[in-house]
Structures are given as structure tokens and as C-alpha cells.
């Protein structure tokens, strides 16, 4: 797998909130294929055996990332802490429904945190759709080994993302991790509004094209 490159140092020039960690140093299990399956296995163990050691390992890996994710989206420190904890409690409670053939642990946990945040913003207690709802996430076509094909999918997406020029990749990050309007991004980055718009357009269409191409 392609290793980290400098362009992935997304130093979002906008502010001093946590930046993306692209240096895969010791103890970092982000990057390697096998480690991603390890995360899946830990989550499966929590689901099947209520394994507290496995949960503790998941907690150390994900809780600080969830907190960072929430902070970037403009959640205040205390709420980010609470929501990260609530999301992890949900991870424990829902672990039984985790199916590595459908989603990786990171995607599954991202979805829980995403929903928790929306729930909190709306405060209406309305249940949110999630990855286990077939109406929202239709079944993938049956294959010999779904989990492997799903991981290959993730690798493709990651590769497509890395092929994007830096300024376009930043816009994708901003879409997920910045609670900012295009106007604010334009103001903060000093770019003309039209440039911000065309970058996001390009990023989206390139991402789509690259993922599509890899399929053929």
C-alpha cells in the first residue's frame, strides 16, 4: 500500500483545531491492511463475547478520534467529550449487530458518532437510520468473501482520495470535518468564492470517476 505522502498533511490553514495525522509512526495502526481487520475483529469479539479487553482497545483507538472529529465540527469541548463517550457506550451495546461483511469497524463507528451528533443537534430523540437498516444501506451483491471485497472497496476509496490534488482533498476534508459554509471557507482561506466552489466540484467528480474507473 502506498505510504503517507506530504500532501496528506492537511494543515487546514484555517485554524488551529486538530490536524490530520498522516505520519504513521509507532503505535499507529491506521494504515496497514491487517490492522484494519484487527479493528474489525476486536469489534466482533465485543459483540460475540462481551470482551472487555477488546472493548478497551477499541476505546483507546476510537474515542480520541471521535472526540477530535466532534471538535472539528465545532462541538464544544464538554459536549465532544460526552458524545464520544455516549458513542462508545453505543458501540458496546450495538456490537452484536456489527457485520464486517457490511462495513468496517471505522465506518460503523463513524456512523454511530455521526448519528449521535445529529441527534444532539436536533434533540428530538428521533431514531436515526444506520448502517444496519437495509433501506438505507442496501445489501451488497453476494460475493465469495464479502469482508475481503468490502476491505478492497475501502482501499480503493483511500487510493482515490490520495490521488486527488491537495487543494481538492482539503475540500473533501472540509465537507466532513468543518462546520463552515463555503463563504467562510473562502474568507478564511483567502480564496475567491468561485475557486472554493470549483474545487469542491472537481474533487467530487474526480472522486466519483476514480472510484468508477477502478471498478472496471
Amino acid at each position: 500500500m502506498e505510504n503517507s505522502s506530504d500532501r496528506w498533511k492537511i494543515d487546514l490553514e484555517f485554524d488551529d483545531r486538530p490536524s490530520f495525522n498522516q505520519t504513521m509512526g509507532t503505535g499507529n495502526i491506521d494504515e496497514s491492511y491487517s490492522s484494519r481487520s484487527e479493528l474489525d475483529e476486536l469489534l466482533v469479539r465485543v459483540g460475540r463475547e462481551r470482551d472487555k479487553a477488546a472493548f478497551s482497545a477499541l476505546f483507546s483507538y476510537f474515542a480520541p478520534r471521535l472526540k477530535s472529529f466532534l471538535l472539528r465540527l465545532g462541538t464544544d469541548m464538554q459536549t465532544a467529550e460526552e458524545l464520544a463517550q455516549e458513542a462508545m457506550i453505543m458501540v458496546w451495546r450495538r456490537a452484536e449487530t456489527f457485520d464486517p461483511a457490511q462495513a468496517g469497524a471505522s465506518t460503523w463507528i463513524f456512523t454511530i458518532a455521526r448519528n449521535k451528533r445529529i441527534d444532539r443537534l436536533r434533540r428530538d430523540g428521533r431514531p436515526l437510520p444506520d448502517m444496519t437498516d437495509p433501506a438505507i444501506m442496501p445489501e451488497q451483491p453476494e460475493t465469495g468473501d464479502q469482508a475481503v471485497s468490502r476491505r478492497e472497496d475501502e482501499d480503493k476509496i483511500k487510493a482515490a482520495l490520495k490521488k486527488l490534488p491537495e487543494e481538492q482533498a482539503k475540500m473533501i476534508f472540509a465537507a466532513y470535518y468543518e462546520e463552515k459554509s463555503h463563504r467562510e471557507i473562502a474568507e478564511d482561506s483567502g480564496l475567491p468564492l468561485g475557486t472554493v466552489k470549483s474545487r469542491i466540484r472537481l474533487a467530487l467528480s474526480r472522486l466519483r470517476r476514480q472510484i468508477d474507473e477502478d471498478e472496471r
Partner: protein
């Protein structure tokens, strides 16, 4: 701009905003209904959720407060382990009796009731969906085969998802699962296809301009 292009961009932006969790509830429903009708978008949304997971792996961690893990374990142990939180496991069917895709049908219990519909003209009726705390207008329209809706313009940006049948206007032809966009102030005259009733779900950001009523990425395109 090429019509096909605009549609792709619109759908890309909607799906990305959905994955990132930055849409209002009415637009979430529009997206959920769209992907129930369009397998390609369903797949793309799955990829964008995976992208969210990948980005989560990439983010620089921020330590939790001391004792956070113990607090979480205490909360877990305070609740019986067999009491799983599965309130939102949706039922397996994806269509209501009315034939609408599930996410939308669930939101509109009385769609079959005649009284819920307001007649706007010959062959054209409207069902208004009210959302709490969201200043967005959402309507379902039924247009009889071949009927031409009077020329009109919209105050805010309007997104129209075709649920059944199809229609054409100055910008193109739209079938089930397609999403048409009308920018604020634009004028159009939709005409329903001849071969069946056309049912659409339309969302309008309304008169009051919110900072980002239609999603962050989407606003990059139409803002």
C-alpha cells in the same frame, strides 16, 4: 453547463452532505428515498460512509478526560447487557402500501387519506409535510398523466425527487429516482409524462434564507 453533469454534481453533493451529517431532516429523507430508488447512488453513499470511516482513522486523536473509560464502563455495567438498544432496527420492507419508498412513507402516515390532499388545479394536487423546527417547505405533488403545471418560479432553491412516473421541463426529463433542481428565481413549466401519474417530493428552502439550509456541500454548488 452540461445537464448530465449538473445532475451528477447535485447528487454527489447531496450524498456527501448526507454522509457528513450536514443535511436537514427533510433533505435526509429526500436522499434516503432517492437511494431506495437508485442502486448506483446507494452504492456511492455506502462508499462515502466508508470515506467517513477512513477519515476517522486519519484524524489526529484528542485525549479524553481522565477516567473517561471508567465512566463508560460504569455506564455500561449499570445497564443489563441483554438490553440492546435496537429501537431503530427498521423493518425489512422497503415499500408502503401506497407504493412510496420506505423512508418517505414512514414519515407520512396519512398519505392515502383524501382529506390530506389539496387540489391546486386540474390534475394537480398537493400534500404538505410539516417538519418541526425546520424552516423548509416540503410537499408531495401528484400530477395526472400529460398534465402541464402552470409556469411558476420559486423563491428559494427547490429540489424535486421523482417518486413515480416522470416529467419534463425546460431543464430536462426526469424519471423515478431522479432529482431536479430549480435555483431560486428560476421559472419552469413541468409537464407530466403521458403514460402514468407523476408523483414527486419537492423541498424548498423557503423564503427565509438560512445560513446553510440545504447542506454545506450543496450550497457550494447553488449558493
Amino acid at each position: 453547463m452540461n445537464e448530465q453533469h449538473m445532475t451528477y454534481e447535485l447528487i454527489d453533493a447531496l450524498l456527501l452532505d448526507y454522509a457528513a451529517g450536514s443535511l436537514t431532516r427533510p433533505l435526509e429523507i429526500l436522499v434516503e428515498t432517492h437511494i431506495a430508488l437508485n442502486a448506483k447512488s446507494a452504492k456511492q453513499l455506502r462508499q462515502l460512509m466508508q470515506l467517513g470511516g477512513i477519515l476517522l482513522e486519519e484524524i489526529e486523536p484528542v485525549s479524553l478526560s481522565e477516567g473517561a473509560f471508567d465512566a463508560v464502563m460504569a455506564a455500561i455495567e449499570a445497564t443489563p447487557s441483554d438490553l440492546n438498544d435496537n429501537r431503530d432496527m427498521a423493518s425489512e420492507t422497503t415499500e408502503s402500501e401506497f407504493g412510496l419508498p420506505r423512508p418517505l412513507a414512514d414519515y407520512i402516515p396519512d398519505l392515502d387519506c383524501k382529506k390530506s390532499w389539496r387540489r391546486l388545479g386540474r390534475g394537480l394536487s398537493q400534500y404538505r409535510i410539516l417538519f418541526d423546527d425546520v424552516d423548509i417547505e416540503a410537499n408531495i405533488y401528484r400530477i395526472a398523466p400529460g398534465v402541464s403545471v402552470p409556469v411558476h418560479s420559486h423563491e428559494g432553491t427547490e429540489l424535486t425527487l421523482v417518486l413515480a412516473g416522470g416529467f419534463s421541463d425546460e431543464t430536462g426529463s426526469f424519471g423515478p429516482g431522479d432529482i431536479a433542481i430549480q435555483e431560486s428565481g428560476a421559472t419552469h413549466q413541468p409537464v407530466a409524462d403521458d403514460d402514468g401519474e407523476c408523483i414527486v417530493f419537492a423541498i424548498n428552502e423557503g423564503q427565509i434564507k438560512l445560513a446553510n439550509p440545504i447542506g454545506r456541500v450543496l450550497s457550494y454548488l447553488v449558493g
